[in-house]
């Protein structure tokens, strides 16, 4: 009897030890996304991408389970701060993916830095995120300068623009993108007739369109705002006959912010809209086509993945790649990320520079919205 008891005890101890080992072989990923508020569509699309990647990885890589915990940070610096503190204390992540909105991403960066936890960002553009000397911040999304510089080049070169009106939301992201366009455009001899900012609570853009119409000939209108506001803005500019979609001469230009489907929502007002895209579901690369196929199989044949789906999907692929290369905790994930060069994902190739910013923009290209609201890829060299 005693022998049996001892054997059972030994078995229990072995099981506990095995369980502890199994627990050790986990890479914990905190995902902070806006699930409520005006930016909540980021969260929904982001989660779709993460879930798909996890499903394909079958939950793990290299013997490590990738455990994800989703949290709502609402695009809000305050909520993101509170959420990340709670996640750090309770979930103890090795890496945090997020946030989408620049203001919220900036708010959590110093907290993660202090706790030596890697932040992988896939949706914020503000320059400050990777220009503040953080060692644990990495970003695959092109920053404001990387997005605005090609717009300036195309505006001056291909569109022969002499005048511009810059439209942007009043956020760190909007301001940085606007500055990223304004400075080089003016330095190259272009004239910025007005820089018009607006809060995220602005709904009616008729007065703004009227003002722009009163400024005389506007050649280009770079726009940096969330999808919903950009739709309304494009429609108001068309009604005021400022842009091509309304019979005007101006060309509205957009950044990578806008997800696939914007053109259909804006309708005829979107005709002639020129923008850069990082993820193009029509791209021939095998990785992109495999992703589109898998996405449709999981979420419906009538759905087309957006860049938000793709970026979120890529973040998990990058974590998996780091683990595959031997990473098992925050410090080793940081080390592996620092060594990344030409790691292929759906949104291009990832090579982080010393500041943690992806420097490879090889797949970023321009598209123009056609009369039937489809995209036409433009062969413009940046």
């Amino acid at each position: 009897m005693k022998l049996k008891f001892m054997a059972a005890l030994a078995c229990a101890a072995a099981a506990a030890s095995f369980s502890a080992m199994a627990q050790d072989k986990v890479v914990r990923v905190g995902v902070l996304m806006p699930i409520s508020g005006p930016g909540s569509y980021f969260g929904v699309m982001g989660r779709e991408g993460v879930d798909l990647a996890l499903e394909q990885l079958k939950g793990g890589v290299n013997g490590y389970k990738i455990q994800v915990q989703y949290e709502d940070s609402a695009c809000s610096p305050l909520q993101a701060t509170n959420t990340v503190k709670r996640v750090l204390e309770q979930f103890k992540p090795h890496i945090v993916i997020g946030e989408e909105c620049s203001d919220a991403s900036l708010a959590i960066a110093p907290i993660l830095e202090q706790n030596k936890v890697v932040q992988l960002n896939a949706g914020s553009v503000t320059m400050k995120l990777t220009e503040s000397g953080y060692k644990y911040v990495f970003r695959i999304f092109p920053n404001a300068e990387q997005q605005s510089a090609p717009l300036v080049k195309v505006a001056l070169g291909h569109l022969k623009a002499k005048t511009a009106v810059i439209l942007h939301e009043k956020t760190n992201a909007g301001v940085d993108n606007a500055e990223g366009f304004k400075k080089p455009f003016e330095a190259a001899g272009g004239k910025v007739l007005a820089t018009i900012d607006f809060g995220r609570d602005v709904n009616d853009f008729t007065s703004i369109a009227t003002r722009i119409a009163s400024l005389g000939q506007v050649d280009v209108l770079p726009t940096f705002a969330l999808e919903g506001q950009t739709v309304r803005l494009a429609q108001a500019l068309a009604q005021a006959k400022v842009v091509k979609g309304g019979g005007g001469k101006g060309v509205q230009m957009g950044s990578i912010w806008l997800p696939w489907g914007f053109d259909q929502k804006a309708g005829q007002a979107a005709e002639g809209y020129v923008r850069i895209v990082q993820f193009d579901p029509g791209e021939n690369r095998k990785m992109v086509q495999d992703f589109v196929k898998a996405y449709k199989a999981k979420y419906g044949q009538d759905k087309t993945p957006t860049h938000i789906n793709a970026h979120a999907y890529d973040t998990i692929l990058l974590v998996a790649e780091a683990v595959k290369r031997g990473a098992k905790d925050s410090e080793s994930i940081r080390e592996q990320f620092s060594k990344f060069k030409d790691v292929e994902v759906t949104t291009g190739k990832i090579s982080f520079d010393q500041k943690g910013q992806n420097s490879d923009l090889s797949v970023v290209h321009f598209v123009e919205t056609q009369k039937d609201l489809s995209w036409k890829a433009l062969n413009w060299q940046q």
């Binding site: 569509y41 609570d201 919903g228």
Partner: protein, 305 residues
């Protein structure tokens, strides 16, 4: 017409249109305050419910199921939004507000409006998801031009429907028995009760009318705003400011303040910058509170509604 005159005319039209949208949202708020002395924090969510009701009534019921043309489908959706708003107001009053009022506590119904707001917002989030809906009114696609002046069919519709709603509300309050009874309850609930009027019923009627107006406001706003479960919140803060500027509980003051704020916003965009809209409106609100705390139209309370 000179450039300047055309510009002033255009921005004035933009301002009146925007002002009418604000008035439609603010009317329900001011009506409830005028009769109940209560702020309804759930008002924004009634507006959002109206917008979603109109969206589904226009796109699914009107055009797909009934085979109506787009314009008829949208017009039908206005009535649906009005009706659903009224029914929602009736249900929430019966289930939440009325029982709390019967306990004689002023604070609990106020807090309950916050609870109702969170409930409605999250219910809509669960039902409709957070991705913005594209709600296009066929009237918004029609641009009417007189020389350099332009406006959409939607802006004409907003102004006309607002005028009709205001007219109907005025006629109801001034000439109908129920309207007179409602004003009596606003003046003195206790005395009105002694005269054989059922204050509970009249308060319920007020909430139903305010919710119906909010629903219709949502239907008009739907094609203007970015339609998500949080859409109403983007206009209701401005509506609160308008109600205070106009004189809390004063319908006439709310109408004037709404149109004034719309026009001020349009000219702020033109001459100061759109980033300063909130600054200008809320400086106006603070100035009004300091200089004329009773609002633009300082009438005796009994004449408010």
């Amino acid at each position: 017409m000179s450039d300047l005159a055309a510009l002033i005319a255009q921005q004035s039209i933009n301002g009146v249109y925007l002002g009418c949208l604000y008035v439609m949202v603010a009317l329900g708020l001011t009506l409830i305050y005028g009769v109940l002395n209560q702020i309804n924090f759930a008002h924004a969510d009634f507006v959002t419910v109206g917008a979603f009701t109109a969206f589904f009534a226009a796109t699914r019921l009107g055009t797909k199921m009934l085979g109506l043309p787009d314009a008829a489908g949208y017009l039908l959706s206005l009535f649906f939004a009005l009706g659903i708003g009224a029914l929602l107001g009736l249900a929430i009053n019966a289930a939440v507000f009325a029982p709390l009022r019967e306990r004689g506590d002023e604070l609990r119904p106020l807090i309950a409006t916050i609870g109702v707001s969170v409930l409605l917002e999250n219910a809509q989030l669960a039902l409709f998801g957070p991705i913005p809906y594209q709600f296009d009114s066929p009237f918004a696609r029609e641009t009417i031009r007189f020389g350099r002046i332009f406006f959409t069919g939607q802006s004409v519709l907003v102004v006309v429907v607002s005028a009709l709603a205001i007219g109907a509300l005025y006629a109801f309050m001034r000439f109908s028995f129920w309207g007179k009874a409602l004003r009596a309850v606003a003046q003195d609930r206790e005395t009105a009760g002694l005269m054989g009027i059922n204050p509970g019923l009249l308060i319920g009627l007020t909430i139903v009318i305010a919710s119906a107006l909010a629903g219709m406001a949502g239907a008009l706003l739907g094609p203007v705003i970015v339609l998500t479960p949080f859409a109403g919140a983007s206009v209701v803060v401005k509506a609160f400011a308008i109600v205070i500027i106009g004189g809390f509980g004063n319908v006439q003051g709310t109408i004037i303040a709404g149109i004034l704020v719309g026009i001020i916003e349009a000219f702020t965009v033109q001459y100061l910058g759109s980033g300063l809209i909130d600054l200008v409106v809320f400086v106006l609100l603070l100035a009004m509170l300091v200089v004329r705390p009773t609002g633009l139209i300082a009438e005796r309370k009994e004449e408010n509604v």
